[in-house]
Point group: C2
Chain length 316, copies 2
């Protein structure tokens, strides 16, 4: 196939090098410099691009689709469709794929964040490394994890994987989800605040779709209370981050384990200075095996599309 016959793909953000290398052998790749100006970034290639790679946190807007008139497929590295315009994709006949293989890792992340905050692991490590133990100091006790009450906001695939784990710690599990999941057998609460009021640990595992901004607000955090720990492995914008900073600063809640933030990669300075929070750079699914598997799914979807076969993990 001569170079001019090669199918052209647009690349949004920093995709995995191994994925780009594999695709580059068969396709011509164009890195998009500015998501806000896809047409300008790509120049004449914009009229030839037939596929695109993006991330859920960037997504794919109708404007981006408009900039690529020959677009046929968008592959998202990750899950979560809140920033991808599915209606616009359907209208234009664009297919969208995700990499739905990260639920176990994200559930693991939720567990370790909750345990880490309650048992003071990260802060204890910091305290020891600073020499306080060797100097004769006595570290502060943490909060028990086992046997406590866990509230899960969002009983989707991550919420279910999380609940299964928490059961082994003899936790009492309740949940809130606008779409009840009667099959799970856990107690359903009428609102996030009601759930928080009856929880020692509040886990946010909800999808970040329309209408979900600040579903965890000052009222929910106040209901969780001064012995409560809040964990977010979903999306930063689901939480009123200013209220969260106030809550951990003022002792409205005991602490928080946060993998996601409102304006990533920026984390409020107040959180960075707190001892009762554990902060992660959006690593919920970041294990070698899962990231490799996610990359493989991107490649398989592009290959299937290119060969006219059924896609592996098609959303629309």
């Amino acid at each position: 196939m001569s170079t001019s016959d090669r199918v052209e793909l647009a690349v949004i953000g920093r995709q995995r090098p191994a994925v780009l290398e594999a695709l580059g052998a068969e396709f011509t790749l164009h890195q998009v410099a500015s998501v806000d100006d896809v047409a300008g970034s790509l120049g004449p290639a914009a009229g030839r691009v037939r596929g695109a790679l993006s991330f859920p946190m960037v997504g794919f807007s109708a404007a981006m689709m408009d900039a690529l008139p020959k677009l046929e497929i968008v592959t998202l590295y990750g899950v979560g469709l809140e920033r991808t315009d599915l209606a616009a994709a359907r209208e234009r006949g664009v297919v969208v794929t995700t990499t739905p293989v990260l639920y176990e890792d994200v559930a693991d992340t939720a567990v370790v964040l909750a345990m880490d905050v309650s048992r003071r692991i990260t802060s204890g490590d910091r305290w020891l490394r600073a020499g306080h133990w060797a100097a004769g100091g006595q570290a502060a006790s943490g909060r028990r994890f086992s046997g406590k009450r866990a509230g899960i906001l969002g009983m989707g695939r991550i919420g279910r994987a999380l609940a299964k784990r928490l059961e082994a710690f003899d936790m009492q599990i309740g949940y809130y989800d606008p779409r009840p999941a009667p099959d799970v057998g856990y107690r359903l609460y009428g609102s996030g605040a009601e759930l928080a009021r009856e929880s020692d640990f509040l886990f946010l595992c909800a999808a970040g779709g329309p209408g979900t901004r600040h579903v965890v607000d000052a009222e929910t955090l106040a209901a969780l209370g001064p012995d409560g720990v809040f964990v977010n492995v979903a999306r930063g914008w689901l939480v009123d981050e200013r209220a969260l900073v106030d809550a951990v600063t003022n002792g409205t809640i005991a602490g928080a384990g946060l993998d996601v933030f409102d304006d990533e990669p920026n984390v409020p300075q107040a959180l960075i200075e707190m001892e009762n929070v554990v902060l992660q750079p959006h690593m919920g699914s970041a294990t070698h095996v899962t990231r490799t598997e996610m990359g493989r799914l991107v490649l398989e979807n592009v290959a299937a599309w290119s060969e006219g076969k059924p896609l592996v993990t098609q959303v629309v």
Copy 2:
């Protein structure tokens, strides 16, 4: 009761203030300044002391008992009898009590240490707080926790509580224990090294009794291998600490989560400088609820002894 009638107790180490306060209302307490010279520390009171409070990590030697000829009871705040001379206690008619209420918390600690090391939680928090994420850096991926092979050294109460938790993470569980536990249904290996060879995570949960020094040695760590994570929530002396430092430094194993050390509170400087270890100041049972319960058991045992009633948690 006049002061001279009050029963006198020796206090070893820093016992809980609430316990000392409660005991002080009824007993005369003598803080022992030097464990190596109990008689000298207490002076004439040594001849009157009838009870003593200690910690398992200090224990109670025959020499300490000899220094207290009227000793009737030793209460240990914690579990583990490896530094208490039970034969000497029996000979002298001294009863010994522990606080066997910490197994769930220690099992929790083992889980969170393993997850923290494999998912790089503490190091990720450090990396984020140092500003690397905001500066555009990309954090390193961790290792998956769920679904891996867990090896448990010591299938006692902590080992069993740990195994129950790990099952919920779909882990394959094997164990080594010189006293097999056929009721647990997990695969028994012939040695620690054999277990390590077939494990992604190696958990040390064994009692630290006679003949257990360095049961985890360079050979065991080499068998665990470069993708393996070692966790110790038992006793520091069960591990050849120099071999462990070499193993995490040279990449012989992937990392380690350590709650205990050979010469507490001193932690090898090489470990303090490593990114692939999580270090805790012996906090396995350090939750408010468990520590309170442990203190309550000390008080209840002393009260029962004082009133001639059966002890609550008597060992000998």
